[in-house]
Symmetry: C2
């Protein structure tokens, strides 16, 4: 339950999210199959209220609240602040330690991130680390393997068995005073930054308290939540997999646009401690730009970045994998070791009996069906029949393309014993001609 | 000279384009270097007149000739007819025999192609076959290696040494009555179909003889010539090389748009006897559509097509080549055989002396510089130091990504003699413990 205050659980370092009322010896509701009788017990009603109920109230209230342009601008601006609280703060700073932040930036991100109403840094990061470590397994708290909707919000709306979710080390977060403070006072942070502050600001500056509450508070929370939830759903469902296709994370510009740049998620799961998600300058990653700018102002430092050599290696390997898959679906001709072995004289004899055979590089090819289709004309290809056409084919007359070599390999019917040149030399020797040819 | 009538040369089958005045024993002008004294002798003035002079006259005449809409439509329509005469006729039918045409279609293409004023079928196809067989070499009549402008029209404007251009077999064309007839009467065909017919048609149907001559005749010839010349220039200069990058032909949609679909030229040089240039349905290849439609009307048959297996094989090979180039520019770590061999005890000892070494799969890695950057945290990676971390690294604790394996390989510093497990087993045995472990 992402809005449950859990002060007592702070004692146990590894399981910060267990409700104090939870007794590990009693069977958990998730162990009972869902049915018409018990379905309401499976639902986390508090979260239903926060994710669905409040926005609904917001929509109704909006019908009675005129939208002033100052409030509209403020809502959009505050949307970006609280969004960055999640992406630059919760995600890249605390869950992944991809850079270090000075205290003022930490406080800003902890407050703004709280205003997105998605749980405390501590709770969020613990689940997110489990998500990375156990991606797509049953220990993944929001595994997309359970469905797109489940990964988007089902995992919050339905009760979870706390034993199921993979454990991760969050000792670093337990040592961070900002994180601990935010966790202990999470209800006040969420209400204060989520609703009261945006309403107060609009009320004090341009006298639109209710507009501030409805638009910059309630409805803005709804949009920020849905946008950041997309990192768990859309980013594991839509797009390419340039680095690894064994797991679900994917790269897509649409996800990036929705999530303040968290859409290059295949990259991110491969290189989680890189402060960037988009590595090209022309890709949309405002979270990266924000971190980079913070560094210029001395508020962030130690920005981590994987070597481009390692990144490109990953790309090459994935491309290789795809290429190998494509290759294996094509016909590359009978492998040489599966071909019958022929004598040179046998080959020549068969062509004298009318078979359209051509020997190239020690391999006999049946070109009968191709003679009429030969791009270089009938006469050219016919001139190779019954001969060693290796040289003709490879530049003696015409240096054939790759395509020609590929076509040729599908026509294999036999291998000549000992290779052809040797055969010819042997014959020459036994016939006493050209014997000096062998001597030099 | 593409407009020279050469009746007498018909006698010699292999060299149909030699001017009867040409004497092979006298030195040819192209053997003399170009200079301020002799440059005008190097120029083929007749072609300058046809390619540059006539269009110039056309432009001047156009300034005095009002353009009527019927004439404009007719000029565009006739542009497509004469363009197809070259692409579907000269090129794909006669030069490449990529399909067969019934007599009426042959006559149509021979007449329309003549109306493009680019020389006779026989002359054009002979040069084109040499272009394919000797692409990019000195025997290529319009090699792009001599410059883009040369391949576009320089080769026609400058005199050529007839001995230079590669010889090709055109016996099939010499046996074709339509081709021979068109060659013998080429001057009449070119003047008749290039200028007189478009003018007469406009004159008789809507009384615009001069408009027909200037717009559907002269200027239309200019545009058709420039467009089809692009196959020799642009198609060897602009675009991708999905099938082979050893030669100059390239694929580009712009070239396709300009040349009635001849823009997929990398494909075309690989698969010249395929009646298609664009193999995807959504690519622009009106010449292919024309041939396909002719087939539906029973005018064309035996349309040749390479097997898609062969086409895809070419693509895979070219992709592999590019991938290998990319791979070779990356650092893949010191190869195992170049690493020093260490004893297991040596490895353990060094870590006790403070070196951050981790052994994975029999290889020792120096991770000192990476401990602080480890995405899984300091504690995790430190727990592997001085141990056999093979299992931990490969799923025992966390199943590392490709990226992690790649990073690891750049940290290699040694190989453990005999592999690690063996070392441990040996020790166990010598110490008398777990000996039964070895027995099963
Ligand atoms: C051994 C005697 C052969 C000779 C002398 C010969 C000669 C030629 C020549 C001169 C060309 C150039 C045609 C042009 O582009 O205008 C050509 C093209 C071609 N030939 Fe052959 N050929 C021979 C055998 C074969 C065989 C056995 C194959 C079967 C796979 C083959 C496949 C091709 C292909 C696919 C082309 C199109 C251009 C290319 O892809 O390189 N040829 N050949
Ligand atoms: C041998 C002891 C090691 C242990 C127990 C260990 C453990 C872990 C764990 C638990 C994670 C998951 C972190 C998360 O995604 O939240 C992780 C990630 C990672 N570790 Fe290690 N690690 C070890 C050694 C190494 C070494 C030697 C390297 C050096 C290349 C390395 C490179 C990485 C990388 C790149 C990641 C990011 C995720 C990924 O690419 O798979 N680890 N490690
Ligand atoms: Fe993810
Ligand atoms: Fe992440
Ligand atoms: Fe070409
Ligand atoms: Fe061609």
């Amino acid at each position: 339950a992402f809005l449950n205050p859990q002060p007592s659980s702070m004692a146990s370092k590894s399981e910060p999210n267990r409700n104090p009322k939870y007794d590990p010896r009693k069977p958990h509701i998730t162990d009972t199959p869902i049915s018409w009788q018990n379905w309401y017990q499976h639902v986390n009603w508090l979260n239903v209220y926060f994710i669905g109920g409040i926005p609904l109230i917001g929509c109704i209230a909006a019908a009675f609240t005129p939208l002033r342009w100052q409030t509209a601008l403020w809502a959009v601006f505050y949307y970006f602040c609280t969004g960055l609280g999640i992406t630059a703060g919760y995600h890249r700073l605390w869950a992944h330690k991809s850079y270090n932040a000075r205290r003022p930036l930490e406080v800003f991100l902890a407050l703004c991130g709280g205003g997105a109403v998605e749980g405390s840094i501590r709770w969020w990061s613990r689940d997110h680390r489990a998500h990375h470590r156990y991606t797509d397994t049953t220990k993944d708290p929001y595994s997309v393997r359970k469905g797109l909707l489940y990964s988007h919000l089902g995992w919050m709306i339905m009760k979870q068995n706390p034993k199921r979710i993979g454990r991760t080390d969050i000792s670093d977060l337990n040592e961070n005073p900002v994180v601990v403070w935010q966790h202990k006072n999470y209800v006040f942070v969420a209400l204060g930054m989520g609703l009261i502050f945006p309403a107060l600001l609009a009320g004090l500056l341009w006298g639109d308290f209710w507009g501030g509450l409805v638009y910059a508070g309630i409805l803005r929370v709804f949009f920020v939540q849905q946008a950041t939830f997309c990192v768990n759903s859309l980013a594991h469902w839509l797009g390419d997999q340039p680095f690894d296709d064994r797991n679900s994370p994917r790269d897509h510009v649409i996800t990036a646009l929705v999530t303040l740049g968290e859409g290059y998620h295949n990259f991110h799961h491969e290189f989680p401690s890189d402060y960037r998600n988009a590595i090209e300058w022309w890709q949309y990653d405002p979270t990266k730009w924000f971190i980079w700018t913070s560094k210029k102002f001395g508020l962030a430092y130690n920005l981590k970045q994987f070597r481009s050599n390692e990144i490109e290696k990953g790309r090459v390997q994935q491309q290789q994998k795809k290429l190998d898959q494509k290759r294996s679906r094509l016909d590359w001709g009978v492998p040489l070791e599966q071909l019958p072995v022929m004598e040179w004289d046998e080959y020549v004899e068969q062509t004298q009996n009318g078979r359209g055979l051509i020997a190239v590089a020690g391999v006999v090819h049946d070109v009968s069906g191709f003679i009429e289709h030969h791009p270089g004309g009938r006469a050219m290809i016919a001139s190779g029949i019954g001969k060693d056409a290796t040289a003709m084919f490879n530049g003696g007359i015409y240096n054939h393309s790759n395509a020609a070599h590929n076509t040729l390999s599908t026509m294999r019917v036999g291998v000549i014993r000992g290779g052809m040149e040797v055969e010819i030399w042997k014959r020459a020797q036994s016939e006493g001609k050209d014997a000096n040819y062998l001597k030099d």
